[in-house]
Amino acid sequence: MRNFYLIAKKELYSYFSSPVAYVVITIFLVITGYYFYNLLASFSTLSFQASTNPAIAQQQNLLNITETVVRPLFGNISMIMLLMMPLLTMRLFSEEKKSGTIELLLTYPVTDMEVIVGKFIACFVVFLLMLLLTATFPALLILFGEPEIGPTITGYIGLILTGAAFISLGIFTSSLTENQIIAATLSFGVLILFFMMGTSVSLMGPTIGNIMMHISLIGHLEGFAKGIVDTTDIIYYFLFIVLFNFLTLRVLESKKWRG
Protein backbone atom coordinates (compact mmCIF):
# COMPACT_ATOMS: atom_id res chain seq x y z
CA MET A 1 0.00 0.00 0.00
CA ARG A 2 3.02 2.23 -0.34
CA ASN A 3 1.96 3.05 -3.87
CA PHE A 4 -1.13 5.09 -3.14
CA TYR A 5 0.88 7.10 -0.65
CA LEU A 6 3.47 7.81 -3.34
CA ILE A 7 0.80 8.81 -5.83
CA ALA A 8 -0.89 11.04 -3.28
CA LYS A 9 2.45 12.67 -2.50
CA LYS A 10 3.15 13.24 -6.17
CA GLU A 11 -0.30 14.76 -6.76
CA LEU A 12 0.14 17.09 -3.79
CA TYR A 13 3.50 18.10 -5.25
CA SER A 14 1.75 18.95 -8.51
CA TYR A 15 -1.00 20.90 -6.77
CA PHE A 16 1.47 23.09 -4.98
CA SER A 17 4.14 23.40 -7.64
CA SER A 18 1.56 24.98 -9.93
CA PRO A 19 -0.57 27.97 -8.95
CA VAL A 20 -3.79 25.91 -9.05
CA ALA A 21 -4.10 25.07 -5.37
CA TYR A 22 -3.03 28.56 -4.25
CA VAL A 23 -5.52 30.31 -6.53
CA VAL A 24 -8.43 28.03 -5.67
CA ILE A 25 -7.76 28.24 -1.94
CA THR A 26 -7.34 32.01 -2.02
CA ILE A 27 -10.52 32.66 -3.97
CA PHE A 28 -12.39 30.22 -1.77
CA LEU A 29 -11.26 32.03 1.36
CA VAL A 30 -12.00 35.47 -0.08
CA ILE A 31 -15.57 34.55 -0.98
CA THR A 32 -16.33 32.59 2.19
CA GLY A 33 -14.76 35.41 4.19
CA TYR A 34 -16.96 37.89 2.43
CA TYR A 35 -20.05 35.80 3.26
CA PHE A 36 -18.93 35.50 6.85
CA TYR A 37 -18.47 39.26 7.07
CA ASN A 38 -21.95 39.85 5.65
CA LEU A 39 -23.58 37.41 8.05
CA LEU A 40 -21.73 38.82 11.01
CA ALA A 41 -22.40 42.44 10.07
CA SER A 42 -26.12 41.84 9.68
CA PHE A 43 -26.11 39.96 12.99
CA SER A 44 -24.49 42.89 14.76
CA THR A 45 -26.95 45.32 13.16
CA LEU A 46 -29.77 43.10 14.34
CA SER A 47 -28.39 42.92 17.86
CA PHE A 48 -28.04 46.66 17.87
CA GLN A 49 -31.64 47.10 16.72
CA ALA A 50 -32.80 44.58 19.28
CA SER A 51 -31.32 46.65 22.06
CA THR A 52 -33.72 49.48 21.16
CA ASN A 53 -36.61 47.51 19.66
CA PRO A 54 -38.13 44.91 21.99
CA ALA A 55 -40.14 43.36 19.13
CA ILE A 56 -36.98 42.13 17.50
CA ALA A 57 -35.49 41.09 20.79
CA GLN A 58 -38.41 38.73 21.34
CA GLN A 59 -37.56 36.72 18.20
CA GLN A 60 -35.20 34.39 19.97
CA ASN A 61 -33.87 32.72 16.84
CA LEU A 62 -32.56 35.91 15.32
CA LEU A 63 -30.32 36.67 18.21
CA ASN A 64 -28.84 33.19 18.40
CA ILE A 65 -25.42 33.49 16.78
CA THR A 66 -25.36 29.78 15.91
CA GLU A 67 -28.65 30.08 14.07
CA THR A 68 -28.04 33.35 12.25
CA VAL A 69 -24.32 33.16 11.51
CA VAL A 70 -22.88 29.66 11.83
CA ARG A 71 -25.67 27.68 10.16
CA PRO A 72 -26.08 29.88 7.09
CA LEU A 73 -22.30 30.04 6.85
CA PHE A 74 -22.11 26.28 6.38
CA GLY A 75 -24.76 26.49 3.68
CA ASN A 76 -22.76 29.18 1.92
CA ILE A 77 -19.46 27.35 2.24
CA SER A 78 -21.02 24.26 0.67
CA MET A 79 -22.25 26.36 -2.28
CA ILE A 80 -18.79 27.84 -2.82
CA MET A 81 -17.31 24.38 -2.53
CA LEU A 82 -19.61 23.37 -5.34
CA LEU A 83 -18.00 26.03 -7.49
CA MET A 84 -14.42 25.38 -6.43
CA MET A 85 -14.07 21.62 -6.01
CA PRO A 86 -14.50 20.74 -9.70
CA LEU A 87 -11.57 23.07 -10.37
CA LEU A 88 -9.42 21.02 -8.03
CA THR A 89 -10.51 17.66 -9.40
CA MET A 90 -10.72 18.38 -13.12
CA ARG A 91 -7.03 17.87 -13.81
CA LEU A 92 -6.56 14.62 -11.92
CA PHE A 93 -7.12 12.24 -14.84
CA SER A 94 -7.82 14.59 -17.76
CA GLU A 95 -4.36 16.08 -17.66
CA GLU A 96 -2.72 12.66 -17.58
CA LYS A 97 -4.83 11.56 -20.50
CA LYS A 98 -4.04 14.63 -22.53
CA SER A 99 -0.29 14.63 -21.90
CA GLY A 100 -0.10 10.85 -22.24
CA THR A 101 1.43 10.33 -18.80
CA ILE A 102 -1.41 7.93 -18.03
CA GLU A 103 0.27 5.48 -20.39
CA LEU A 104 3.37 5.41 -18.23
CA LEU A 105 1.45 5.48 -14.97
CA LEU A 106 -0.65 2.48 -15.90
CA THR A 107 2.35 0.50 -17.08
CA TYR A 108 4.04 0.93 -13.71
CA PRO A 109 3.37 -1.85 -11.22
CA VAL A 110 0.43 -0.09 -9.58
CA THR A 111 -3.20 -1.12 -9.49
CA ASP A 112 -5.96 1.12 -10.83
CA MET A 113 -7.34 1.23 -7.30
CA GLU A 114 -4.09 2.60 -5.87
CA VAL A 115 -4.06 5.31 -8.53
CA ILE A 116 -7.61 6.39 -7.71
CA VAL A 117 -7.15 6.28 -3.95
CA GLY A 118 -3.88 8.20 -4.23
CA LYS A 119 -5.44 10.95 -6.29
CA PHE A 120 -8.49 11.07 -4.06
CA ILE A 121 -6.39 11.46 -0.94
CA ALA A 122 -4.23 14.20 -2.48
CA CYS A 123 -7.27 16.23 -3.47
CA PHE A 124 -8.88 15.55 -0.09
CA VAL A 125 -5.79 16.91 1.68
CA VAL A 126 -5.91 20.12 -0.36
CA PHE A 127 -9.61 20.40 0.44
CA LEU A 128 -9.03 19.81 4.16
CA LEU A 129 -6.39 22.52 4.20
CA MET A 130 -8.79 24.86 2.48
CA LEU A 131 -11.54 24.05 4.94
CA LEU A 132 -9.21 24.27 7.91
CA LEU A 133 -8.42 27.85 6.97
CA THR A 134 -12.12 28.72 7.17
CA ALA A 135 -12.04 27.60 10.80
CA THR A 136 -10.78 31.10 11.55
CA PHE A 137 -14.39 32.27 11.17
CA PRO A 138 -15.89 30.19 13.99
CA ALA A 139 -12.68 30.77 15.96
CA LEU A 140 -13.36 34.51 15.78
CA LEU A 141 -16.92 33.92 16.92
CA ILE A 142 -15.72 31.88 19.88
CA LEU A 143 -13.29 34.66 20.74
CA PHE A 144 -15.93 37.40 20.73
CA GLY A 145 -19.20 35.57 21.30
CA GLU A 146 -20.69 32.32 22.43
CA PRO A 147 -21.63 30.12 19.49
CA GLU A 148 -22.52 26.52 20.21
CA ILE A 149 -19.48 24.34 19.75
CA GLY A 150 -21.42 21.11 18.98
CA PRO A 151 -23.21 22.23 15.81
CA THR A 152 -20.04 23.96 14.65
CA ILE A 153 -18.12 20.70 14.84
CA THR A 154 -20.87 18.61 13.27
CA GLY A 155 -21.25 21.27 10.60
CA TYR A 156 -17.61 20.78 9.72
CA ILE A 157 -18.04 17.03 9.68
CA GLY A 158 -20.88 17.55 7.22
CA LEU A 159 -18.72 19.79 5.04
CA ILE A 160 -15.86 17.30 5.08
CA LEU A 161 -18.19 14.51 3.95
CA THR A 162 -19.72 16.78 1.30
CA GLY A 163 -16.26 17.70 0.06
CA ALA A 164 -15.23 14.05 -0.16
CA ALA A 165 -18.40 13.36 -2.14
CA PHE A 166 -17.63 16.25 -4.51
CA ILE A 167 -14.10 14.93 -5.00
CA SER A 168 -15.22 11.41 -5.85
CA LEU A 169 -17.65 12.80 -8.44
CA GLY A 170 -15.01 15.18 -9.81
CA ILE A 171 -12.46 12.40 -10.20
CA PHE A 172 -15.05 10.33 -12.01
CA THR A 173 -15.84 13.07 -14.54
CA SER A 174 -12.12 13.72 -14.94
CA SER A 175 -11.57 10.08 -15.84
CA LEU A 176 -14.12 10.34 -18.64
CA THR A 177 -12.38 12.93 -20.78
CA GLU A 178 -8.99 14.34 -21.65
CA ASN A 179 -10.46 17.84 -21.67
CA GLN A 180 -10.31 19.54 -18.28
CA ILE A 181 -13.07 22.00 -19.11
CA ILE A 182 -15.45 19.21 -20.02
CA ALA A 183 -14.50 17.39 -16.82
CA ALA A 184 -15.24 20.50 -14.71
CA THR A 185 -18.46 21.29 -16.57
CA LEU A 186 -19.73 17.76 -16.10
CA SER A 187 -19.07 17.83 -12.40
CA PHE A 188 -20.65 21.30 -12.03
CA GLY A 189 -23.68 19.99 -13.86
CA VAL A 190 -24.10 16.85 -11.83
CA LEU A 191 -23.42 18.59 -8.51
CA ILE A 192 -25.90 21.38 -9.24
CA LEU A 193 -28.46 18.77 -10.25
CA PHE A 194 -27.90 16.95 -6.96
CA PHE A 195 -28.46 20.25 -5.15
CA MET A 196 -31.49 21.35 -7.16
CA MET A 197 -33.22 18.04 -6.69
CA GLY A 198 -33.99 19.04 -3.14
CA THR A 199 -35.82 22.18 -4.27
CA SER A 200 -38.28 20.38 -6.53
CA VAL A 201 -39.39 17.85 -3.92
CA SER A 202 -42.64 19.71 -3.25
CA LEU A 203 -43.55 19.55 -6.94
CA MET A 204 -43.38 15.76 -7.05
CA GLY A 205 -45.68 13.15 -5.63
CA PRO A 206 -44.98 11.87 -2.13
CA THR A 207 -43.09 8.76 -3.27
CA ILE A 208 -40.86 10.34 -5.89
CA GLY A 209 -40.51 13.46 -3.78
CA ASN A 210 -39.29 11.39 -0.88
CA ILE A 211 -36.78 9.54 -3.03
CA MET A 212 -35.52 12.81 -4.47
CA MET A 213 -35.19 14.29 -1.02
CA HIS A 214 -33.00 11.37 -0.03
CA ILE A 215 -30.85 11.56 -3.15
CA SER A 216 -30.41 15.32 -2.94
CA LEU A 217 -27.24 16.64 -1.34
CA ILE A 218 -28.92 19.55 0.47
CA GLY A 219 -31.04 17.58 2.87
CA HIS A 220 -28.11 15.57 4.13
CA LEU A 221 -25.92 18.55 4.88
CA GLU A 222 -28.67 20.42 6.76
CA GLY A 223 -28.81 17.89 9.56
CA PHE A 224 -25.12 18.28 10.26
CA ALA A 225 -25.41 22.07 10.31
CA LYS A 226 -28.19 21.75 12.89
CA GLY A 227 -25.95 19.60 15.05
CA ILE A 228 -27.64 16.31 14.21
CA VAL A 229 -25.41 13.41 13.28
CA ASP A 230 -27.70 10.93 11.58
CA THR A 231 -26.28 7.61 10.40
CA THR A 232 -28.55 7.88 7.34
CA ASP A 233 -26.64 10.95 6.26
CA ILE A 234 -23.27 9.37 6.93
CA ILE A 235 -24.28 6.29 4.95
CA TYR A 236 -25.53 8.53 2.15
CA TYR A 237 -22.17 10.26 1.80
CA PHE A 238 -20.32 7.01 2.19
CA LEU A 239 -22.34 5.40 -0.61
CA PHE A 240 -21.95 8.47 -2.80
CA ILE A 241 -18.16 8.32 -2.43
CA VAL A 242 -17.95 4.58 -2.95
CA LEU A 243 -20.25 4.70 -5.98
CA PHE A 244 -18.28 7.31 -7.88
CA ASN A 245 -14.91 5.84 -7.00
CA PHE A 246 -16.22 2.51 -8.20
CA LEU A 247 -17.39 4.09 -11.46
CA THR A 248 -13.95 5.66 -11.93
CA LEU A 249 -12.38 2.26 -11.43
CA ARG A 250 -14.67 0.86 -14.14
CA VAL A 251 -13.70 3.67 -16.50
CA LEU A 252 -10.00 2.92 -16.01
CA GLU A 253 -10.64 -0.76 -16.51
CA SER A 254 -12.65 -0.12 -19.65
CA LYS A 255 -9.46 0.40 -21.64
CA LYS A 256 -9.01 -3.35 -21.28
CA TRP A 257 -12.06 -4.22 -23.32
CA ARG A 258 -12.69 -1.13 -25.44
CA GLY A 259 -11.57 -1.58 -29.03
Partner: protein, 310 residues
Protein backbone atom coordinates in the same frame (compact mmCIF):
# COMPACT_ATOMS: atom_id res chain seq x y z
CA UNK B 1 12.98 -13.53 -22.64
CA UNK B 2 10.12 -12.23 -24.73
CA UNK B 3 7.82 -14.50 -26.68
CA UNK B 4 5.05 -13.15 -28.85
CA UNK B 5 2.69 -15.60 -30.49
CA UNK B 6 0.01 -14.81 -33.02
CA UNK B 7 -0.73 -11.47 -31.46
CA UNK B 8 -3.78 -9.82 -33.00
CA UNK B 9 -5.33 -6.50 -32.18
CA UNK B 10 -8.28 -4.92 -33.87
CA UNK B 11 -9.84 -1.53 -33.25
CA UNK B 12 -13.39 -2.06 -34.40
CA UNK B 13 -13.09 -3.22 -37.97
CA UNK B 14 -9.54 -1.94 -38.33
CA UNK B 15 -6.95 -4.61 -37.80
CA UNK B 16 -3.83 -3.06 -36.32
CA UNK B 17 -1.98 -6.32 -35.73
CA UNK B 18 -2.49 -9.55 -37.57
CA UNK B 19 -1.03 -12.66 -35.91
CA UNK B 20 2.46 -11.37 -35.36
CA UNK B 21 4.95 -13.82 -33.91
CA UNK B 22 8.52 -13.23 -32.83
CA UNK B 23 10.78 -13.77 -29.85
CA UNK B 24 13.71 -12.03 -28.25
CA UNK B 25 16.56 -13.73 -26.44
CA UNK B 26 18.03 -12.49 -23.21
CA UNK B 27 20.55 -9.70 -23.73
CA UNK B 28 19.51 -9.06 -27.31
CA UNK B 29 18.59 -5.75 -28.88
CA UNK B 30 15.69 -6.23 -31.23
CA UNK B 31 14.89 -3.55 -33.76
CA UNK B 32 11.26 -3.15 -34.53
CA UNK B 33 11.02 -1.65 -37.93
CA UNK B 34 8.08 -0.48 -39.93
CA UNK B 35 6.47 2.50 -41.60
CA UNK B 36 4.13 4.73 -39.63
CA UNK B 37 0.95 2.93 -38.68
CA UNK B 38 2.47 -0.52 -39.10
CA UNK B 39 1.57 -1.56 -35.56
CA UNK B 40 4.81 -0.91 -33.71
CA UNK B 41 3.30 1.16 -30.92
CA UNK B 42 0.33 -1.16 -30.64
CA UNK B 43 2.65 -4.13 -30.11
CA UNK B 44 4.61 -2.24 -27.49
CA UNK B 45 1.49 -1.19 -25.64
CA UNK B 46 0.36 -4.78 -25.49
CA UNK B 47 3.75 -5.92 -24.21
CA UNK B 48 3.71 -3.25 -21.52
CA UNK B 49 0.18 -4.28 -20.43
CA UNK B 50 -1.28 -0.89 -21.31
CA UNK B 51 -4.06 -2.63 -23.18
CA UNK B 52 -4.65 -6.25 -24.05
CA UNK B 53 -4.56 -7.91 -27.45
CA UNK B 54 -7.70 -9.16 -29.16
CA UNK B 55 -6.14 -12.60 -29.37
CA UNK B 56 -2.77 -14.28 -29.17
CA UNK B 57 -0.21 -14.67 -26.44
CA UNK B 58 2.72 -12.65 -25.17
CA UNK B 59 5.12 -13.59 -22.41
CA UNK B 60 7.84 -11.52 -20.82
CA UNK B 61 10.38 -13.20 -18.53
CA UNK B 62 8.03 -16.16 -18.35
CA UNK B 63 5.00 -14.15 -17.26
CA UNK B 64 1.95 -13.80 -19.44
CA UNK B 65 1.06 -10.15 -20.06
CA UNK B 66 -2.66 -10.87 -19.76
CA UNK B 67 -2.58 -13.27 -16.83
CA UNK B 68 0.06 -11.66 -14.64
CA UNK B 69 0.42 -8.04 -15.72
CA UNK B 70 1.70 -7.00 -12.31
CA UNK B 71 4.71 -9.34 -12.53
CA UNK B 72 5.40 -8.17 -16.07
CA UNK B 73 5.15 -4.50 -15.15
CA UNK B 74 7.73 -4.97 -12.40
CA UNK B 75 10.25 -6.26 -14.93
CA UNK B 76 9.95 -3.76 -17.72
CA UNK B 77 11.04 -0.23 -18.40
CA UNK B 78 8.96 1.56 -21.00
CA UNK B 79 9.61 4.72 -22.95
CA UNK B 80 6.53 5.72 -24.95
CA UNK B 81 6.94 7.50 -28.24
CA UNK B 82 6.03 11.05 -27.20
CA UNK B 83 7.88 10.78 -23.86
CA UNK B 84 5.06 11.76 -21.52
CA UNK B 85 6.54 13.16 -18.31
CA UNK B 86 5.14 15.13 -15.38
CA UNK B 87 6.47 18.46 -16.53
CA UNK B 88 5.68 20.26 -13.32
CA UNK B 89 8.21 18.18 -11.40
CA UNK B 90 11.94 18.47 -10.89
CA UNK B 91 13.98 15.78 -12.61
CA UNK B 92 15.25 14.26 -9.38
CA UNK B 93 11.82 14.31 -7.71
CA UNK B 94 10.22 12.75 -10.74
CA UNK B 95 12.76 9.94 -10.89
CA UNK B 96 12.41 9.33 -7.15
CA UNK B 97 8.66 9.07 -7.59
CA UNK B 98 9.02 6.58 -10.43
CA UNK B 99 11.63 4.57 -8.54
CA UNK B 100 9.35 4.36 -5.52
CA UNK B 101 6.36 3.31 -7.53
CA UNK B 102 8.39 0.71 -9.37
CA UNK B 103 9.20 -0.84 -6.04
CA UNK B 104 12.79 0.28 -5.50
CA UNK B 105 13.39 -0.07 -1.78
CA UNK B 106 13.52 3.11 0.23
CA UNK B 107 17.13 2.62 1.35
CA UNK B 108 18.32 2.04 -2.25
CA UNK B 109 16.26 4.81 -3.76
CA UNK B 110 18.70 7.66 -3.50
CA UNK B 111 21.60 5.64 -4.82
CA UNK B 112 19.57 4.24 -7.69
CA UNK B 113 18.31 7.64 -8.75
CA UNK B 114 21.86 9.01 -8.53
CA UNK B 115 23.16 6.17 -10.69
CA UNK B 116 20.54 6.60 -13.34
CA UNK B 117 21.11 10.37 -13.44
CA UNK B 118 24.80 9.70 -14.10
CA UNK B 119 24.11 6.97 -16.60
CA UNK B 120 21.84 9.20 -18.66
CA UNK B 121 24.01 12.29 -18.34
CA UNK B 122 21.46 14.20 -16.31
CA UNK B 123 23.48 14.99 -13.19
CA UNK B 124 23.65 18.71 -13.98
CA UNK B 125 19.94 18.89 -14.67
CA UNK B 126 18.67 17.05 -11.62
CA UNK B 127 17.25 20.14 -9.94
CA UNK B 128 15.60 21.59 -13.04
CA UNK B 129 11.91 21.43 -13.75
CA UNK B 130 11.20 18.99 -16.55
CA UNK B 131 9.37 21.62 -18.60
CA UNK B 132 12.55 23.72 -18.67
CA UNK B 133 14.50 20.96 -20.37
CA UNK B 134 15.20 20.68 -24.08
CA UNK B 135 13.74 17.82 -26.07
CA UNK B 136 17.00 15.90 -25.91
CA UNK B 137 17.19 16.10 -22.15
CA UNK B 138 13.54 15.19 -21.77
CA UNK B 139 14.26 12.11 -23.86
CA UNK B 140 17.02 11.24 -21.41
CA UNK B 141 14.69 11.71 -18.48
CA UNK B 142 12.29 9.37 -20.27
CA UNK B 143 15.05 6.82 -20.64
CA UNK B 144 16.10 7.34 -17.04
CA UNK B 145 12.59 6.64 -15.75
CA UNK B 146 12.56 3.42 -17.78
CA UNK B 147 15.92 2.37 -16.34
CA UNK B 148 15.52 3.44 -12.75
CA UNK B 149 14.37 0.08 -11.39
CA UNK B 150 17.03 -1.79 -13.41
CA UNK B 151 14.44 -3.72 -15.39
CA UNK B 152 15.27 -6.92 -17.24
CA UNK B 153 13.43 -5.75 -20.31
CA UNK B 154 13.44 -2.34 -21.92
CA UNK B 155 10.79 -1.33 -24.41
CA UNK B 156 11.64 1.87 -26.23
CA UNK B 157 9.25 3.39 -28.73
CA UNK B 158 11.21 5.52 -31.20
CA UNK B 159 13.79 6.64 -28.65
CA UNK B 160 15.66 8.96 -31.01
CA UNK B 161 12.83 10.67 -32.83
CA UNK B 162 13.01 14.46 -32.84
CA UNK B 163 16.57 14.71 -31.57
CA UNK B 164 19.48 16.48 -33.21
CA UNK B 165 22.24 14.31 -34.73
CA UNK B 166 24.56 14.71 -31.76
CA UNK B 167 21.86 13.73 -29.32
CA UNK B 168 20.89 10.78 -31.48
CA UNK B 169 24.45 9.48 -31.35
CA UNK B 170 24.54 9.89 -27.58
CA UNK B 171 21.24 8.12 -27.02
CA UNK B 172 22.29 5.28 -29.31
CA UNK B 173 25.53 4.94 -27.43
CA UNK B 174 23.57 4.81 -24.20
CA UNK B 175 21.33 2.07 -25.58
CA UNK B 176 24.27 0.08 -26.90
CA UNK B 177 25.92 0.25 -23.50
CA UNK B 178 22.85 -1.35 -21.98
CA UNK B 179 22.99 -4.32 -24.31
CA UNK B 180 23.95 -7.61 -22.77
CA UNK B 181 22.72 -6.62 -19.35
CA UNK B 182 19.20 -6.05 -20.56
CA UNK B 183 16.89 -7.27 -23.24
CA UNK B 184 15.79 -4.38 -25.41
CA UNK B 185 13.07 -3.89 -27.98
CA UNK B 186 13.33 -0.63 -29.79
CA UNK B 187 11.07 0.58 -32.52
CA UNK B 188 12.14 2.98 -35.17
CA UNK B 189 11.63 3.97 -38.74
CA UNK B 190 15.17 5.22 -39.05
CA UNK B 191 17.04 2.44 -40.77
CA UNK B 192 20.69 3.21 -39.99
CA UNK B 193 19.69 3.10 -36.35
CA UNK B 194 18.81 -0.54 -36.70
CA UNK B 195 22.03 -1.53 -38.43
CA UNK B 196 23.99 0.40 -35.80
CA UNK B 197 22.33 -0.76 -32.62
CA UNK B 198 20.36 -3.94 -33.14
CA UNK B 199 21.29 -7.61 -33.16
CA UNK B 200 18.12 -8.59 -34.89
CA UNK B 201 15.37 -6.88 -36.84
CA UNK B 202 11.68 -7.53 -37.12
CA UNK B 203 10.15 -5.70 -40.03
CA UNK B 204 6.41 -5.26 -39.82
CA UNK B 205 4.03 -3.70 -42.24
CA UNK B 206 0.26 -3.31 -42.00
CA UNK B 207 0.20 -5.40 -38.83
CA UNK B 208 2.12 -8.34 -40.29
CA UNK B 209 5.68 -9.51 -39.81
CA UNK B 210 7.40 -9.39 -43.20
CA UNK B 211 10.93 -10.32 -42.13
CA UNK B 212 12.91 -11.38 -39.06
CA UNK B 213 16.69 -11.58 -39.32
CA UNK B 214 19.97 -9.93 -38.45
CA UNK B 215 20.63 -6.67 -40.29
CA UNK B 216 23.62 -8.34 -42.03
CA UNK B 217 21.64 -11.32 -43.27
CA UNK B 218 18.84 -9.11 -44.40
CA UNK B 219 21.14 -7.04 -46.56
CA UNK B 220 22.81 -10.14 -47.94
CA UNK B 221 19.83 -12.38 -48.54
CA UNK B 222 17.25 -10.11 -49.88
CA UNK B 223 18.26 -10.33 -53.53
CA UNK B 224 19.03 -13.78 -54.83
CA UNK B 225 22.21 -12.56 -56.52
CA UNK B 226 24.92 -10.04 -55.86
CA UNK B 227 25.45 -7.12 -58.14
CA UNK B 228 28.51 -5.46 -59.55
CA UNK B 229 29.09 -2.13 -61.19
CA UNK B 230 31.64 -2.03 -64.01
CA UNK B 231 32.89 1.01 -65.89
CA UNK B 232 34.65 0.19 -69.14
CA UNK B 233 36.37 2.27 -71.82
CA UNK B 234 35.53 0.46 -75.05
CA UNK B 235 32.90 -0.04 -77.77
CA UNK B 236 29.63 -0.57 -75.93
CA UNK B 237 28.16 -3.44 -77.97
CA UNK B 238 31.41 -5.40 -77.97
CA UNK B 239 31.77 -4.97 -74.25
CA UNK B 240 28.23 -6.25 -73.66
CA UNK B 241 28.76 -9.38 -75.72
CA UNK B 242 32.17 -9.83 -74.13
CA UNK B 243 30.74 -9.61 -70.62
CA UNK B 244 27.88 -11.97 -71.41
CA UNK B 245 30.40 -14.66 -72.29
CA UNK B 246 31.93 -14.63 -68.81
CA UNK B 247 30.65 -17.51 -66.70
CA UNK B 248 28.65 -16.53 -63.62
CA UNK B 249 27.09 -13.40 -65.05
CA UNK B 250 23.34 -13.76 -65.35
CA UNK B 251 22.48 -10.44 -66.82
CA UNK B 252 24.18 -7.33 -68.13
CA UNK B 253 22.35 -4.03 -67.80
CA UNK B 254 23.70 -0.96 -69.48
CA UNK B 255 23.37 2.03 -67.23
CA UNK B 256 24.85 4.87 -69.24
CA UNK B 257 27.54 5.57 -71.77
CA UNK B 258 29.31 8.68 -72.97
CA UNK B 259 32.55 9.32 -74.88
CA UNK B 260 33.02 5.60 -75.32
CA UNK B 261 32.92 4.95 -71.57
CA UNK B 262 30.03 2.73 -70.50
CA UNK B 263 28.74 1.76 -67.13
CA UNK B 264 27.06 -1.61 -66.55
CA UNK B 265 25.28 -3.29 -63.69
CA UNK B 266 25.94 -7.01 -63.63
CA UNK B 267 23.71 -9.54 -61.87
CA UNK B 268 25.99 -12.35 -60.87
CA UNK B 269 25.35 -15.71 -59.33
CA UNK B 270 25.29 -15.68 -55.62
CA UNK B 271 28.16 -17.05 -53.60
CA UNK B 272 30.92 -16.80 -56.16
CA UNK B 273 33.22 -13.86 -56.64
CA UNK B 274 33.90 -13.39 -60.36
CA UNK B 275 35.52 -9.99 -60.17
CA UNK B 276 38.91 -11.42 -61.18
CA UNK B 277 37.44 -13.10 -64.26
CA UNK B 278 35.72 -9.88 -65.29
CA UNK B 279 38.86 -7.81 -64.84
CA UNK B 280 40.96 -10.31 -66.73
CA UNK B 281 38.40 -10.57 -69.55
CA UNK B 282 38.20 -6.81 -70.03
CA UNK B 283 41.95 -6.29 -69.98
CA UNK B 284 42.47 -9.22 -72.39
CA UNK B 285 40.11 -7.57 -74.88
CA UNK B 286 42.21 -4.44 -74.76
CA UNK B 287 39.56 -2.20 -73.18
CA UNK B 288 40.18 0.03 -70.24
CA UNK B 289 38.78 -1.09 -66.87
CA UNK B 290 37.94 2.10 -65.03
CA UNK B 291 35.85 0.84 -62.17
CA UNK B 292 34.70 -2.47 -60.70
CA UNK B 293 32.84 -2.61 -57.42
CA UNK B 294 30.02 -4.56 -55.75
CA UNK B 295 26.66 -2.85 -55.18
CA UNK B 296 25.63 -3.18 -51.59
CA UNK B 297 21.97 -3.05 -51.02
CA UNK B 298 21.29 -0.81 -48.08
CA UNK B 299 18.72 -1.58 -45.43
CA UNK B 300 16.69 1.22 -46.96
CA UNK B 301 16.39 -0.63 -50.26
CA UNK B 302 15.47 -3.83 -48.51
CA UNK B 303 12.95 -2.16 -46.33
CA UNK B 304 11.25 -0.48 -49.23
CA UNK B 305 11.35 -3.68 -51.19
CA UNK B 306 9.72 -5.64 -48.37
CA UNK B 307 7.19 -3.05 -47.45
CA UNK B 308 6.05 -2.25 -50.96
CA UNK B 309 5.99 -5.83 -52.15
CA UNK B 310 2.24 -6.26 -51.73
Amino acid sequence: MIQVEKLTKSYGSYQALNEITFSVEKGEILGFLGPNGAGKTTTMRILTCFFPATSGKARIAGYDVFEEPHEVKKRIGYLPENVPLYRDMKVVDYLSFVAGIKGVRRQDLKMRVGNVLDECGLSDMSNKMINELSKGYRQRVGLAQALVNEPEVLILDEPTVGLDPKQIIEIRKLIKNLAGKRTIILSTHILPEVSMTCNRVVIINKGKVVAVDTPQNLTANIHGASRLIVKVDGPTQDVITGLQKIQGINKVNKKESSNGISEFILDTEKGIDIRRDIAAGIVRSGWGLLELRPVEMSLEDIFIKLVTKE
